[in-house]
């Protein structure tokens, strides 16, 4: 139960500073590519330049704070569980991308997420996930006439 502070002095702010600076550069570049100018007033690129500047300033701010002693305690993470959730979301995306349909996707999402939280009854979770998927699919497609992505399973209904 005791939070174990890991001393990762100054690394996160430095990394974030680099990311922020990269975003600033991308935004600046994107704005400089915009050719259409407004006939009157400000062009659409003005807001982009403003945001780019804001990011640059924040990057400098983070860089400065990277050289100060850090007061943020970062706790230990169970990266395996995070990975399982990532996998669960990939399962959904993959299923829809590759034409596996909504029911298969949400079944995978449900079962893999439950696994990430330490459940080990994978088969039961698959069945439960599939039941929810079928129910949601029928609710949306038949009653609300909102077409969810269809795969082989959905064609059965």
């Amino acid at each position: 139960m005791t939070p174990r502070p890991i001393h990762t002095p100054n690394r996160p702010p430095a990394v974030i500073a680099i990311v922020l600076f990269a975003i600033a550069v991308i935004t600046y570049w994107d704005a400089s590519q915009m050719t259409t100018r407004a006939a009157y007033g400000m062009s659409a690129s003005a807001a982009s330049y403003f945001v780019a500047l804001l990011f640059a300033v924040l990057a400098v701010g983070h860089l400065v704070s990277a050289f100060k002693p850090s007061n943020v305690e970062v706790e230990v993470a169970d990266w395996k569980a995070v990975g399982w959730i990532g996998l669960a979301l990939c399962g959904l995306i993959g299923s829809i991308w590759l034409g596996g349909g909504f029911i298969l996707g949400s079944t995978l999402l449900f079962a893999l997420t439950a696994h990430a939280f330490g459940r080990r009854a994978f088969l039961v979770d698959l069945c439960l996930g599939a039941a929810i998927g079928v129910f949601v699919f029928l609710l949306f497609n038949k009653l609300l006439t909102l077409a969810l992505p269809q795969g082989p399973l959905e064609k059965l209904f």
């Binding site: 006939a39 009157y40 929810i132 129910f135 609710l139 038949k142 009653l143 006439t145 077409a147």
Partner: protein, 323 residues
Amino acid sequence: MRNFMKYGLMAAIVGSVLSFGSLSATAQDLELTITAPAGAGGGWDSASRSLQEAMMATGNAKSVQVVNVPGAGGTVGLAQFIGSAKGSPNQLLVAGITLVGASISNKSPVNLTQVTPLARLTGDPLVIVVSKDSPIKTIDDLLATIKTDVAKTIWVGGSAGGADHILAALVTKAAGADPAKINYVAYSGGGESLAAMLGGQATAGVSGYGEWEGQIKSGDLRALAISYPEPIEGIEAKPLKAQGLDIELVNWRGIFAGPDVQGADLDALKAAVDNTVKSEQWQAILKARGWSDYYAPTDEFKTFIASENDRVRSILTSIGLAD
């Protein structure tokens, strides 16, 4: 899960209400999918769902499903349709003039000349208005104002590059000013631009006639002209053409099949659409929705699409939205 059981109950209620309307048609066994390249609730979506209703009620199709693919003025839906409906005997797409403009201004690799036109369905006039207190009384007054100072003539209307913007540019050009100098303030829809008109923040406004009809009838806005080629019954404002300007622009919607659909498949789709459009049910829907019939059969529609594509491109180029 408890909440899902609750949904089940709700769903049963929804179901019992919905089932009043769904009747099964058996005359033909077409099982169609209509792609509406816009989110649920918009113009193309309601056209698709109306067509769905009419096709099933008249028995011209066994089942019709509407799929919404929103994004980028319809070009996302169009690209997806071109990919999935190639040679398909049961896929349809509803689209209109906005998609012609969007595929040009978004520099999209796909456009409406790549799909197979079936029929033009509806066409709504645009209207040019000024505020009731405006010194501008006629379209000629407006042209004179534009000629005097094109920058201070503030137009309001729908999004940049859309039909409203195109009409404003055509009028500016007709007045003898440079359409690239037009001061057109784009709003997200007829509602916000109407507020800007009523608030007196603009010189002139453009919108679909139907959206501003209430204000025109009540006298809050003065309609100078409509963009339809002929006068329309019940609309007092005269067409631009009748007032000496060679401008016509109609916000049309039509129905398309996928690329490379030919022979018997194409004939079956054509027949189903034509029979539906000629039915009483479809006419009743047009009336209820306030849409003007702008039907054109396949061949006429095909040449129309090609000419609209060229025309819209040249106007968008002149206002600097396309190269």
